[in-house]
C-alpha cells in the first residue's frame, strides 16, 4: 500500500492520520464501498474537467491511443453520448456497440459477449444492462476497466457522482445537507447510488414515495422514509426527483398518472415547503406533468441542465482515475 505523495487539495485540510491511499480502483461498479476520500478525489478531479470542458479547445491526450467500448443493452442516447464525449475529450477511440442489431439479439449470452469484446483488447468498457449485477459479472471476465452505466435496479454510480458534483458546486459541501429523493425508489438504481454516496458524505437522506414504490428494508440503508411530499419536503436543501417509468404507472404500482401527479408530483407549492434556497434535480429524461411540473423544471431553483454538464466532467474524471494511477495524475 503506497501512500499518496500528492494528496488532493481537499485532503490537505484533513488530519494527517486520515491521509488515504490514493484512489486505486480498477472498475467503477457501484458507489457502495467507496470511501469518502475516493468520492472526494473523483469530485475534485471532475471540477478540473469542468474547466477543461468549458474551453474552446477541449481535447486532452491523457488517454490517447486507448480504446473505449460503450455497450448499452438498454437504450439511453443521452448517457451513451455523455460517456462518448467524455472518452473523446480524453483522447480515446470510442466505439459504440449497437446491441439492438448485434448478435446479442441472436441469443448470445452476456458472458460470450464479454469474452468476444475482451478479445478486442479494449482499455475501458462502459456497460448498461437491464439486470442487476451484470456489470460485476462482466468485470470478472474482462481484462480491462469496467464502468457501470446502470445495471437493473442496482447502481448507477456516475449519476450519483454527477449529482454530488452538482450539489457540491451549488452548496459548497455535501456534509450536513438534507436531501430528499422522491419517486420510484424501488426500481431506481439512481436512488440506490445516491443513497450510498450521500450517506458516505454525511448528508441526511430522505426518501419520499408511495409505499408500493418503497422496497422492503429501505430504511436500513440509512434513510428516513416518507409517504407524503408534504411531510418529507420541509427542511430539505436538495429535492432530487426520479423518473417514473410509464409502464409502472398503469395500475401495477400506482393507479394512474393523474393520481401520482396529484400526490407525488413536484409543483411550486411543494417546492416552497423546502428551504428557500433548495435546489431541484432530476436525472432526466423528465416526464413533465407526471413527476415534475414544467415551470419547476425550468425554474430558477432547477439545476437539471447543470447536471447534464457535470455528467460529462464526472465521467472524464472517472475514466482518468481508472486508467491512470493517482500518483501520476498529480505528477
Amino acid at each position: 500500500m503506497t501512500r499518496s505523495k500528492h494528496p488532493s487539495p481537499k485532503q490537505e485540510t484533513q488530519a494527517p492520520a486520515f491521509q488515504k491511499k490514493p484512489f486505486q480502483l480498477k472498475h467503477l461498479l457501484g458507489i457502495e464501498g467507496l470511501s469518502p476520500q475516493d468520492i472526494t478525489f473523483l469530485l475534485d478531479r471532475a471540477d478540473e474537467m469542468v474547466a477543461i470542458s468549458r474551453q474552446t479547445e477541449k481535447k486532452r491526450h491523457l488517454l490517447s491511443g486507448r480504446t473505449q467500448i460503450n455497450l448499452f443493452f438498454e437504450n439511453s442516447t443521452r448517457t451513451q453520448s455523455s460517456f462518448e464525449i467524455a472518452g473523446k475529450r480524453l483522447g480515446m477511440d470510442v466505439v459504440n456497440m449497437d446491441v439492438q442489431t448485434s448478435s446479442v439479439k441472436k441469443g448470445e449470452t452476456l458472458m460470450d459477449t464479454a469474452l468476444t469484446l475482451n478479445a478486442m483488447q479494449p482499455d475501458l468498457l462502459v456497460v448498461r444492462h437491464h439486470a442487476a449485477g451484470a456489470a460485476e459479472l462482466l468485470a470478472q471476465k474482462m481484462g480491462c476497466s469496467v464502468i457501470n452505466a446502470g445495471d437493473g435496479a442496482h447502481e448507477h454510480p456516475t449519476q450519483a457522482l454527477l449529482d454530488a458534483l452538482t450539489i457540491r458546486r451549488q452548496k459548497g459541501q455535501i456534509e450536513g445537507l438534507t436531501v430528499a429523493v422522491c419517486g420510484d425508489i424501488a426500481h431506481s438504481r439512481v436512488a440506490r447510488s445516491n443513497i450510498h454516496l450521500l450517506n458516505a458524505m454525511g448528508a441526511q437522506v430522505r426518501v419520499i414515495a408511495p409505499s408500493t414504490l418503497l422496497p422492503s428494508g429501505i430504511e436500513d440503508l440509512g434513510v428516513t422514509a416518507y409517504r407524503s411530499m408534504e411531510k418529507g419536503l420541509p427542511g430539505c436543501d436538495v429535492i432530487m426527483m426520479l423518473r417514473l417509468q410509464v409502464e409502472r404507472m398503469a395500475g401495477a404500482f400506482v393507479p394512474s398518472f393523474r393520481e401520482y401527479y396529484r400526490f407525488f408530483g413536484l409543483n411550486a407549492a411543494r417546492v416552497a415547503l423546502a428551504n428557500d434556497d433548495a435546489i431541484v434535480m432530476h436525472p432526466a429524461p423528465m416526464n413533465r406533468g407526471v413527476e415534475i411540473a414544467s415551470d419547476i423544471a425550468d425554474g430558477v431553483q432547477s439545476v437539471i441542465f447543470e447536471q447534464v454538464e457535470m455528467g460529462v466532467a464526472v465521467r472524464m474524471a472517472v475514466m482518468e482515475s481508472l486508467q491512470i494511477p493517482a500518483e501520476e495524475i498529480f505528477a
Binding site: A131, G133, A134, E136, L137, G152, A153, E155, S216, L221
Partner: protein, 438 residues
C-alpha cells in the same frame, strides 16, 4: 470410475467394530452387523464368527459410524430431456459418493413423468445404470399444467412413491383439493413446494440484501400463503400431504398447528436453508440462487429449531443440477437450483457440530423419516431391512473442491466449503457402491 469399487455381492458380510447408529430404534452402540443376501440379518455386540460361511467378508469399521443410507426426498435429475445437466447414472454416482442410497426423483423432466410408461422408463434406467436406488415420483397434474390430474392409481401401481408438481406450485385451490381427495383413495402422498407464482416472482429473499442489490424480493408470505391454503385443504379432505421445502419460521409454525390438529402432514427442509442465509449470495453469486430462496438468519435459526423439535420431519438435498448455460447469467436471469447430493450429509452434520441438533436426530431426518413417510424400505438397521448402509467419520474435516464432484453439473453453493464429517463407504443391498480412496 475413480473412487468407486463395484464388486460382486458376497453372500455374507460382517461389519465389525462399528459405531452402529440406528435412528429407527434410537440405538447408538459399538457392535457388529451381519448382512446376508442384501439384507441386514443381525446386529449386536461381538456377533459369533464361528458359524460364518467361508467366503464371508469381514469389514473392520474401526469405530466409525455405520448407519442406514440416506434417503433423499427431493432430487431433480436431467434424464430424460436434460442429460447434459445430469443423467440417472451420474446422479447415482454423486448419490453414492454422498451416502445417499435412495433418491426420490422429481417428475420435472422432459417429457414430464406423468404417465405409467415414464415411471417404468425411470425404474428400468435406474436398475441398469444407477448405483443407488431411484424411486420416481409422478407429476400431480399432466405436464405439470396444474389443471388435469394424472392417473394416481396406475402410477402408484407402476412404482411412483408420491405425487408432486416438483418445482411448480399448484396454483388452483380446486385442483389441490381434488388431488388430495382422490389420492387419499390410493393412500397416495401429495408432495408440494409452496411458492405463490405472482407474489413469489422475485429472485431472492425479500429484505435489505435484495433492496441493496436491486433485485426483486420473494417475500416470506409467498411460501406461507399457499402452504396455509394447502393445510386447510388437508383438513377438509383428510389427504396425506408433505410440504417439501420450507424456509420460514411462520411455515414451521403453520405445520406445527396442523400436526397438533392431527392432520396427516409432514414437512421437509432443504439443507441449503439450514446451512446458508441470504448474506451468502455476496456479489450476485448465482450458485446461491435456489428455491426456496436462502432466507435471513432468523429464519435459518427457526428451521434448525424445527428440525431439532421434530416439527420438520426430514432434510433433503433439493439437488438441482444446472449447467453454465442456465447459471452463467446475471443473477436475475439465472436459473434456480444447486447440486446437493454429495454435500447432504456433511452440510447436515453442521447442525450436529454446532451443538444445535443431536447426531441421532440429524440421521433420523436423513434416513428413517423420509423412508417411513414415503413408505419405502430402508432407513433402519433392524433385521430384515435392506443393507443400504453408510460408513462415515462424523469428525473428519475436509474442504469441498468442485473438481471432486461426481455430479455432471458443478453448481454447488459449497465450493471451498469447510465440512466436518465425510462418507467413507456406501453400500446398497450389501454391495459396495462407493469407497473413498484414502
Amino acid at each position: 470410475m475413480k473412487g468407486f469399487a463395484r464388486t460382486k455381492r458376497p453372500r455374507q458380510r460382517l461389519f465389525v467394530n462399528a459405531r452402529l447408529i440406528d435412528p429407527s430404534t434410537n440405538q447408538d452402540m459399538i457392535g457388529d452387523l451381519l448382512v446376508e443376501k442384501g439384507k441386514i440379518v443381525r446386529t449386536g455386540k461381538d456377533l459369533p464368527r464361528d458359524n460364518l460361511r467361508q467366503k464371508t467378508k469381514i469389514i473392520d469399521c474401526r469405530g466409525k459410524v455405520l448407519s442406514p443410507g440416506l434417503v433423499d426426498a427431493r432430487v431433480f435429475i436431467g434424464e430424460p430431456g436434460g442429460e447434459h445437466r445430469e443423467t440417472i447414472k451420474s446422479a447415482g454416482k454423486a448419490a453414492a459418493a454422498g451416502g445417499v442410497t435412495t433418491m426420490i426423483m422429481m417428475p420435472d423432466t422432459t417429457p414430464v413423468i406423468d404417465d405409467v410408461a415414464l415411471v417404468e422408463f425411470v425404474r428400468q434406467t435406474a436398475n441398469e445404470k444407477s448405483r443407488v436406488r431411484v424411486k420416481p415420483t409422478a407429476a400431480l397434474s399432466r405436464g405439470l399444467s396444474g389443471t388435469e390430474m394424472t392417473e394416481f392409481g396406475l402410477l402408484k401401481d407402476a412404482g411412483a412413491v408420491a405425487f408432486t408438481d416438483g418445482r411448480k406450485t399448484v396454483s388452483s385451490a380446486m385442483m389441490m383439493r381434488r388431488a388430495l381427495t382422490y389420492a387419499g383413495d390410493f393412500d397416495g402422498l401429495i408432495m408440494a413446494a409452496t411458492r405463490d407464482e405472482s407474489l413469489g416472482s422475485g429472485v431472492m429473499n425479500a429484505g435489505l440484501n435484495a433492496t441493496r442489490m436491486g433485485l426483486t424480493g420473494i417475500p416470506r408470505e409467498a411460501e406461507i400463503i399457499p402452504l396455509e391454503r394447502d393445510l386447510r385443504l388437508v383438513n377438509m379432505t383428510g389427504g396425506r400431504y408433505h410440504a417439501s421445502t420450507l424456509s420460514t419460521s411462520d411455515s414451521v409454525d403453520a405445520v406445527a398447528v396442523a400436526k397438533d390438529k392431527g392432520l396427516d402432514v409432514s414437512a421437509g427442509v432443504a439443507v441449503a436453508n439450514l446451512a446458508l442465509n441470504d448474506n451468502d449470495i455476496g456479489s450476485y453469486r448465482t450458485f446461491f440462487r435456489v428455491s426456496p430462496p436462502l432466507r435471513g438468519e432468523d429464519d435459518r435459526r427457526a428451521m434448525i429449531e424445527g428440525v431439532r423439535n421434530g416439527t420438520l420431519d426430514l432434510i433433503c438435498s433439493n439437488h438441482d443440477p444446472q449447467d453454465v448455460d442456465t447459471k452463467r447469467h446475471p443473477f436475475a436471469e439465472a436459473a434456480d437450483g444447486a447440486v446437493g447430493l454429495e454435500t447432504l450429509l456433511a452440510a447436515s452434520l453442521r447442525l450436529y457440530h454446532s451443538n444445535d441438533v443431536p447426531l441421532m436426530r440429524v440421521l433420523h431426518c436423513l434416513s428413517t423419516a423420509p423412508a417411513r413417510r414415503l413408505g419405502i424400505e430402508g432407513g433402519s438397521l433392524e433385521p430384515g431391512s435392506p443393507a443400504d448402509l453408510i460408513l462415515f467419520d462424523p469428525d473428519e474435516p475436509w474442504v469441498l473442491s468442485e473438481d471432486e464432484l461426481h455430479s455432471r453439473s458443478k453448481n454447488t453453493p459449497f465450493e471451498s466449503g469447510r465440512f466436518q464429517g465425510r462418507v467413507l463407504k456406501t453400500f446398497v443391498g450389501g454391495r459396495t457402491v462407493f469407497s473413498r480412496k484414502s
